[in-house]
């Protein structure tokens, strides 16, 4: 099954990348772009009997490695 883990910075945590990209977009003429935030997506396959089991595996991996829970939150989506 396909597991997709979204990893994003917690609310309020400085996002230097987002800040720099927003700035660059403005100077490219996209003045209307705002609140730019950059996150990471990890796509992977796991062997699992059902979606719930796959999701649980995804969450375990996120906690163990994919997300840094001190500054990041995550959520997991599963598709067949």
């Amino acid at each position: 099954m396909k597991v997709r883990v979204f990893v994003y910075l917690k609310n309020g945590v400085l996002d230097p990348q987002g800040k720099a990209v927003e700035h660059a977009l403005h100077s490219l003429g996209f003045e209307e772009a705002s609140d730019v935030r950059i996150s990471r997506v990890v796509d992977l396959h796991v062997k699992a009997n059902d979606a719930a089991a796959a999701k649980e595996q995804g969450e375990k991996m996120a906690r163990a490695l994919l997300a840094n829970e001190v500054i990041e939150d995550f959520h997991v989506e599963v598709s067949a």
Partner: protein, 580 residues
């Protein structure tokens, strides 16, 4: 929203002791506001007030004809000839580096870089001293990996070469690693900038990054001992932005080349509070801040939050009023925030306004001078008995292999290969190249030798010897390159000073450092103290770190071409000097 009733209980939760809160009430003559309580609690934290260590630090030798500014400024300044000065200091970022090793170490490097460039110096080298737990402990790999990446990530991006350092492993650092970072900068002696504010009516200007809710109460956290829960609390770690810091560096140096700056101070631990209070109290003036003008990253920030935020990459300065537009243009060019957030007054008070209300109004004298000072009790330190050499457990060859493959004996190349040690184009001796790193002084024939050292197990056995030994090792390492040692900085990492045994360790180590410094004419020009480096286990037991009085030293080579490295030349005799 922070809506708390200010009372003793809240004061305690802010880290103030009962008698300290009493003192606050006496100074204020009323119950302080939340913002005022916050200001007192950070200014009187161990981190800002040095309340447990100050009495002892005073005994250190700090003078020599070549010392331009000793302790008391953002960094120490020494004369290195040719009208130039070396500006340097060491800082710790121990507790945050356990919680979030990458950001903890990165922002530690960012902080010490700012201490140096606030004084008008271009940073030319970074060094560090790291202590990690047992290599087999569950957290060690994560911490080592993150800390090394964090130091590299910040320094590499800044374009400041990381040229030296030291690393050791011991189980007492399992949950309390030490990350001490040192920066050496170069300035013209006639262009050194200090923090004392001057000139009633002059504008107080904020530059750099915007303020967010980062690390509120970090300064008090770094003074509070760790418990096994602290990694699950809401993060008080900050995220570093080395790119913005690089811009801040260039913008500040560009501004400092004009005559606009009267005084300047970085916003480090305890951010706006400590920078504003320090600048004003050192200058003997009052300061009036209007937080409405503070550049803000988040919405609905309260005065309390803005005053205590530890957002990184910010500076506060006092400018000549007729030069604010010149300054504004420079910061606009570097795409940084620039805001006039206050003025100097003759009130002798710090007044903080927000949305038309006075959120804090505190007399600076008592806030700065009546900070508590403790002469904490000690017990005579039991020196550990001398070890009798054990019977050889194995042959010499096997012993050598064991030593070389141990955490403390193995090559550190894996670490320094992640640090850009050559950027700047002046690195003469890189990590591994000599006993001390050597960096050429741009445009001259001179070199600076620099190193960090400490052997905690000596301090554990005998703190006096441990302190003295660290100084002497630094001295020897600098001398071994052919340089003349000039001065040192220190970072005193100990467990809780409230424990008389630990306090004794501290006092003895400071004596050892002082005696060694006096004997060698090697003064202390800056430093930092990090206390409460201990871990409380689930069962209430406390693990103290092995004491680590880390010393960083700087020396000068008149002719950098005479620098001596480690490698044996192809031919020649090998001499051993001294008693074995």
């Amino acid at each position: 929203m922070v809506t708390a009733v200010v009372n003793l209980e809240l004061a305690r939760s802010f880290g103030l002791k009962d008698d300290e809160y009493e003192k606050v009430l006496t100074i204020m003559g009323r119950t302080p506001s939340l913002t005022e309580l916050g200001i007192f609690s950070v200014m009187w934290s161990e981190h800002c007030s040095y309340k447990s260590s100050r009495l002892h630090l005073k005994t250190l030798p700090t003078k020599a004809p070549w010392v331009i500014h000793g302790p008391g400024e953002n960094a120490g300044v020494i004369d290195i000839g040719d009208g130039l000065a070396a500006v340097f200091k060491m800082e710790s970022h121990n507790h945050p580096s356990f919680i979030e090793p990458y950001q903890g170490a990165a922002t530690g490097v960012g902080g010490i870089l700012r201490d140096v460039f606030t004084m008008g110096a271009r940073p030319i080298a970074n060094l560090n001293a790291l202590r990690f737990g047992d290599p087999s402990h569950k957290d060690t790999k994560r911490v080592v990996d993150g800390v090394v990446r964090g130091i590299g990530g910040y320094g590499n991006c800044m374009g400041v070469p990381t040229v030296g350092g030291e690393v050791n492993f011991h189980h007492s650092y399992n949950c309390n690693p030490l990350v001490n970072a040192m920066t050496v900068g170069l300035a013209r002696q006639d262009r050194i900038f200090l923090s004392a504010a001057a000139g009633v009516g002059n504008p107080v200007v904020y530059v750099g990054s915007k303020t967010g809710r980062d690390g509120i109460h970090g300064a008090t956290m770094s003074s509070a001992e760790f418990d096994s829960e602290s990694s699950s609390k809401r993060p008080t770690v900050q995220v570093g932005d080395p790119f913005t810091e690089k811009l801040l560096l260039e913008a500040c140096l560009e501004l400092m080349a004009t005559d606009a700056v009267i005084s300047i101070q970085d916003m480090g631990a305890a951010g706006l509070t400590s920078s504003a209070v320090e600048m004003a109290s050192k200058g003997g003036v009052g300061i009036d801040l209007d937080l409405d003008h503070v550049p803000q990253r988040e919405t609905h920030m309260q005065a309390y939050e803005m005053m205590l935020s530890e957002s990184q990459e910010r500076m506060l300065m006092v400018l000549r009023p007729d030069r604010t537009e010149v300054a504004r243009k420079i910061f606009e060019k570097w795409e940084l925030d620039f805001a006039i957030v206050g003025t100097l007054t003759d009130s002798g008070r710090i007044t903080v306004r927000h949305k038309g209300t006075v959120e804090a109004d505190i007399p600076l004298g008592p806030l700065a001078d009546e900070a508590p000072i403790y002469d904490r009790p000690t017990v005579p330190y039991e020196r550990q008995p001398a070890l009798t050499p054990p019977a050889a457990p194995c042959g010499v060859e096997a012993a050598l292999v064991r030593l070389l493959s141990s955490g403390n004996g193995a090559s550190r190349a894996w670490i320094w290969n992640q640090y850009d040690s050559g950027v700047g184009g002046q690195t003469v001796k890189r990590p591994g190249g000599a006993d001390a790193a050597i960096v050429r002084v741009e445009g001259t024939n001179r070199g600076l030798a620099m190193t960090t050292d400490c052997t905690p197990r000596y301090g554990q056995a005998d703190p006096y010897i441990g302190g003295a030994q660290a100084v002497v090792e630094v001295w020897r390492n600098i001398t071994a390159t052919g340089a003349r040692p000039l001065a040192m900085t220190d970072n005193l990492n100990f467990a809780s000073p409230e424990n008389p045994r630990i306090m004794a360790q501290f006092v003895e180590a400071v004596k050892g450092i002082g005696d060694a410094g006096r004997a060698l004419d090697f003064p202390v020009v800056s430093g930092n103290v990090s206390l409460y480096n201990e871990t409380r286990g689930d069962d209430g037991s406390v693990t103290a770190i092995q004491p680590a009085p880390v010393i960083g030293g700087v020396g000068v080579l008149e002719d950098v071409h005479k620098a001596v490295g480690l490698a044996f030349p192809d031919a020649g005799e090998i001499l051993l000097i001294g008693e074995t």
